[in-house]
Symmetry: C3
Subunit: 424 residues, 3 copies
C-alpha cells in the first residue's frame, strides 16, 4: 500500500532526468508523464507568436553536450545531468584553451560540490555549469567543447487539465514546467498539482478547477495572452511551487492582499495550527508575477514550502530527489485540499428572517430545555450565521468572528438554508 | 440615610421571592413593584398574537408544586423557592416510583448544594429542579408529584417608562423580567434601570430615554414587532443585566461595533480608569440578540458586570441576595450615569470661523498675557474643539485626540457656541 | 572653510540682539539681514487692516526701558537684553514703591537666574521680565520706571522668498520672526529656512518653494488673508521652528495626518535611521495652527528638534546662542534637504504595459543570464515600480513596500519612463 506522498515522489523521480527548458521536447515528455495521471489538453504555440509584450522564441532541443580533455575524457557531461549545460545554449563545436573556456563556465564557489542552474534564453550564448571542485581540478591545456543543440522555429508547449465544477467560475492552479533536473523547483509542485486534480475530480467541486502546466514567465504570459477574453472567469488561484522541501509551508498573498483566496489560506493555515508563514505580495518569484501584473491583477496567491530562492539548494544540483520528501509533498497537498474545501463552501448568505431571531425551536433546530449554559456549538453556529448573513459577511468571517470551525459554520448554514431561513 | 445602592438592594429583595416566567402573574407583580418607583405604561399582548417569526404563547401560572415522599413530607417544594419547578411545567398530579420521577428531575452534580434554573417554554413538559444532595438522599419508593399550574390563553405582559427629552430621538434601556428567584439575573438589572430612570428625570435630558421591562427573547421580540414602524427613533441603547455581582463591569459592543453608544462606553470606561472589559458583539446573551438582529441592527450594546453565563452561580440558586451588593449596583448605576452624561452632550459641531483661529482674546476667552507655557486646559479645549469642528468629528473624538476630560471639552464647546463661533 | 552649520550659527548671532515683536523695526531689521542671503519680497500691511477674524494692531517700537533704584542705577535694563521688557509694553515714566512695581514684574521662580519672555499684545499693559534672584535682591524703596516705547498706527511687516520650480504647485516653508532674543525660537528656524532656500535654488526643483518670514499668529493670519484665493497652490508645507537645540528632530504631522508631506517626513526620518519622533497634529504650537485651521486644512506639518514648549529653556533667556549648535542646525537642514529631495521626485506613475511583465531584457533593462538568486536592486526596483504603477501608489509606497531606497526606486521609474513603459 503506497501513500499518496510516495506516489507523488515516484512521479517526481520519473520526471527528474528530463532536460526541460521553456520550449522543447523535454517539456513535451514531461507533459506526457503528467498525462498518464490526468487527461491534458495540449497546446503548441508557434515561434514568433506575439504574446502580450513578448514573442514566443525559437524552440531549443539538445542531444548531447560535453567538455572533453586532451585525452578525450568527458570532464563535464550533459548525459550525467541536464544541469551541466547552460539552458538555451547555442550549438558549438570547438577546441580552446582552458583560459578561453572559463569564460563559458559557471560554478558556485561557496558550494564547491554543487552544480548551478543557469540559462540564457534571450541572448545567444553557450556555456556549461559544473562544480567548483571539478573546475579546480582541470589542468591547463586544450579542451574540446561540444553542444549539440538546435535553436529553430518550432513551438512553445503547455497543457491544461480542467476539473468541471457546478459553476463556470474558475480556480486556477498553475505550475511551471521549464526547470531541468531540479526536484523541488518544480517537479514537486507538478506532482502535487496532479494529485490534487485527481482528488478534486472525485469530490465534484463547486468551482471549476483549471490546472495550467506551462513554462515559467513566457508560458504564463502565453496562457494569459491566449485567454485574455476569458481570464475574468478566474475568481481565485494558486501558483504551486517548491512543494516538497523540508521547510514549513508559506503562503504569499495575491497582489490584492485580501482576496478571498488570501483569506482562505490565512484561515486554513491558522486554524490547522500548522507552523507556517504568510508573506505579503512581491512582484518577484514565480508566475504570480504575471497573473498579478496590474493589468490582470488576478486573485492568485502562491503556495510553497520554503519560498523562492529561500534555501541554499535553490537552483543547484542539491535540489535533488533526496531534497524532497513524500511527507512534505503530502502536507502541501493537504493544505490545498483543506483550502479548496473551505473555498468551495464559502458563501455570503442572506438571512431571510432578519428581524429578531427566527424561532429555531419549532423548526427542530434548537434544544427545548432552556436555562443551561452549555449551548451546543451547532446552535451557536446557527446564531452566528443568522446574525452575520446580511450580504456583507461570508462564512470565513463567521468562522473567524465566532471562533467556531469552518465546517461547523458551513453545516449550520446548510441546515438554515434547508429550513428556508437563508439564501446564498 | 440610605445609599442608592442600599435602596436598589432593597428593591431586589422585594422582587426576589416572586415566581416570574415569560408570562403570568409573577411578571405582573414585579411590574407592580417597579411601578411604585417610576410610572409605567403596561402592555398585555394576547396569546396567539404573531410577533415577527414567533407567536405569543399561552400564559403560565402556578399556585403550588411539590414532590412528597411516602410519609407525605414535601422533599421538593415550590413554596421554598420558585426555582424548584421547571419553568412552564404543565400540570401533573401523580404517584410514581423514584426511577420514573428521576426523568423529570434536574440537578447540578458539580455543585451538589445548588438548585439549577431550567425551563421548557415551547415543549410541553413537567419537572423539578433540586440540589444533587437532596436527590441523593431520596430513598427508593413511591412519590407523590403535584404541579398545580395553568397553561391557558391569556397575555404576555411588559411595561415601558419614558423620560422625556428635548429631542424625540430615543435611548432604549432594556432589561428582562422573566427570571424567577435569581438576584443578579436580572433583578439587579431591573433595579439599576429603575433608579437610573429616576435620576434621568431630574436631569432634563437631551434624549428621550425609553425603559423597557419585558420577558427575555419573546418579550423583546414582541416589543420590536409592536414598534416596528417607530424603531428608527432608537438612536442608542443598552441592555442591562447582571448588574450586581462582584465582577468588574463589562461592556459588550453593539453589532455595529463602532456605534456612538460603543464609543461612549469605551470612552467612559477608559477615562474613569475603572477595571473593565470591552467585548465584541456576539449573537448570544440577552436581548441584544434581538435588537441587533441584522434586520434591525440597532445601536444597542449590553452592560453587565460579569457577563452572561460567565460565573458559576449563573442560573442557579447561588445567584441569591448575597451574590449582589449595594456597592456593585451603585457602580453599575454610576457607569450608566457617566455614559449618558457623555452621550447627552456629544455633538458634531461646525466651526463658523474656520479660516485661521478666531481671535478668542477679544471675546474674553483667552488669556491676555502671552509667552507662558502653562496654557490652561480650558483654552486648549477651545482650540481643539475649533480645530476639529468640521462636521466630521464629535466631542468624544475631541476628548480622545486631545486627552482632555470630556466635560472640559463640552464646556469649551458651549462657550464657543455662546460666542457664536460654533453651531451644532 | 566654514561649514554650513557655522554659517547658520553666525546668522543667528547677528539677529540675536534685535528686539523683535509682531510689528516694528526689529522685524524689519531682521528681514534686512535675511535679505542679504536671499532676495525677499517685503510686505507692509497697515494697522487696522482686517485679516480673517483679526485686525492688524498698532505698530510697537521701543527705544529704551529700565527700572532704576534710588541711586539711579539701572537694576533692570532693556539695553542688556530685549527680553527684559514685556512685549508690546505701553509707555510709562513713573516712580513707585517696590510693592506696586512688583505687579508689573515677571520672573521664573523655578529658574531663579533666567529671565522669562512675556508679551501682552492685545491688552494694554507695561511690564518687565527679570531673574528671580535679581528681584530678590531689590531692597524696598522707590524705583524709577521708564518704558520709552511707541504704540501707533503703522504696519505689520513680513517677507517672502520664492524658489521657482518646474510646476506652479507650491511648497510652503514658514517661520515666525516675532520673537526677541531667543536663539532656538526662532532664529535657528529662520537660519535653516534661509540656507535651505539657497540650496534649493541651485537644484532647480520640481515644485515652486515659497518661504514666508512672518510674525507668529497675526503674521500667518495676515498672509493667509492676503493669499486666500491662491492658497490652493500650496500642495505641501513645513513650519520650521526650534531648529537648533540639542534634542532629536521631531516631525508633527499636518492636521490631515496622512498628507504626502507627512508620508515624506515619516519615510525620510525612518529610512535615515536618525533618532526622531513623529507626533500627531495638535492645534497648538506654531503657525501650523493657522495653516491647518479647518477652513484651510493645508498639508502643512511642523519640523522642529525639541518641540514647542518641550524644553526648560523655552521662552527664557537660557534659549541663548549657546543653546543652539551648528551641528544641530546642519542636521535640521539635512532633514529638509532629504525630505524635499523625496517630495520633488515622488509621483504616481501609470504602467503603460500592465498586462504581464514587459520584456525588460530586450530593452537592455534586465540581465541576460538567468537562474541566479542575486537579482540586482535596480531590477527589483523596476519590477516593483511596474507592479504598483496603477495610479493608486506613489514612489514612496513602492519604496516602503519593497524596502528599497527611494532614490533607487525613483531611478528605476526614470529608466522605465525613458523606455516608454511608464507615464507620470
Amino acid at each position: 500500500m503506497t501513500s499518496v506522498g510516495e506516489e507523488m515522489h515516484a512521479l517526481v523521480e520519473r520526471m527528474y532526468p528530463l532536460c526541460r527548458s521553456i520550449t522543447g521536447d523535454g517539456v513535451r515528455a514531461t507533459l506526457d508523464i503528467v498525462g498518464e495521471h490526468v487527461p491534458l489538453t495540449r497546446h503548441e504555440v508557434p515561434t514568433g507568436t506575439q504574446v502580450l509584450d513578448w514573442t514566443v522564441p525559437q524552440e531549443w532541443n539538445i542531444r548531447d553536450a560535453y567538455v572533453a580533455d586532451a585525452t578525450g575524457a568527458r570532464v563535464v557531461d550533459f548525459a550525467a545531468s541536464s544541469l551541466h549545460v547552460l539552458g538555451y545554449s547555442v550549438p558549438v563545436s570547438a577546441r580552446m584553451p582552458l583560459a578561453e573556456l572559463k569564460q563559458h563556465l559557471h560554478t558556485l564557489p561557496e558550494h564547491p560540490t554543487w552544480v548551478p542552474y543557469r540559462t540564457s534564453y534571450y541572448k545567444p550564448e553557450w556555456g556549461f555549469c559544473l562544480a567548483q571542485e571539478t573546475l579546480d581540478a582541470l589542468p591547463d591545456g586544450e579542451y574540446e567543447v561540444v553542444v549539440d543543440s538546435t535553436l529553430a522555429d518550432g513551438h512553445l508547449s503547455y497543457a491544461e487539465h480542467v476539473v468541471p465544477g457546478r459553476v463556470p467560475d474558475e480556480v486556477l492552479v498553475s505550475c511551471h514546467v521549464c526547470h531541468p533536473s531540479l526536484a523541488n523547483d518544480n517537479l514537486a509542485g507538478i506532482a502535487v498539482a496532479t494529485f490534487l486534480a485527481r482528488e478534486l475530480a472525485e469530490r465534484e467541486p463547486y468551482y471549476t478547477y483549471r490546472f495550467v502546466y506551462a513554462p515559467g514567465t513566457i508560458g504564463a504570459i502565453t496562457w494569459l495572452a491566449r485567454n485574455r477574453e476569458r481570464v475574468g472567469r478566474v475568481k481565485h488561484g494558486l501558483v504551486l511551487a517548491c512543494a516538497g522541501d523540508p521547510g514549513n509551508v508559506t503562503y504569499k498573498r495575491s497582489r490584492r492582499g485580501d482576496a478571498e483566496i488570501d483569506r482562505v489560506l490565512r484561515h486554513v493555515l491558522t486554524a490547522s495550527q500548522r507552523p507556517h508563514k504568510i508573506r505579503e505580495f512581491t512582484p518577484y518569484g514565480y508566475d504570480e508575477r504575471q497573473y498579478c501584473s496590474p493589468g490582470f491583477d488576478l486573485a492568485v496567491g502562491s503556495l510553497t514550502r520554503t519560498p523562492y530562492a529561500g534555501y541554499p539548494e535553490y537552483h543547484t544540483s542539491a535540489d535533488d530527489l533526496d531534497f524532497v520528501s513524500p511527507a512534505a509533498m503530502a502536507d502541501t497537498l493537504a493544505v490545498c485540499r483543506e483550502a479548496f474545501a473551505v473555498l468551495d463552501r464559502n458563501r455570503r448568505y442572506l438571512n431571510l428572517s432578519p428581524y429578531g431571531e427566527p424561532q429555531l425551536g419549532r423548526r427542530g433546530l434548537y434544544d427545548a430545555l432552556g436555562g443551561r449554559s452549555d449551548t451546543k456549538e451547532t446552535q451557536m453556529a446557527m446564531l452566528w450565521v443568522l446574525n452575520l448573513s446580511d450580504g456583507e459577511h461570508d462564512l470565513i468571517d463567521v468562522a473567524e468572528r465566532s471562533g467556531l470551525p469552518f465546517a461547523t459554520v458551513a453545516d449550520a448554514a446548510d441546515a438554515l438554508a434547508a429550513a428556508g431561513l437563508l439564501k446564498a
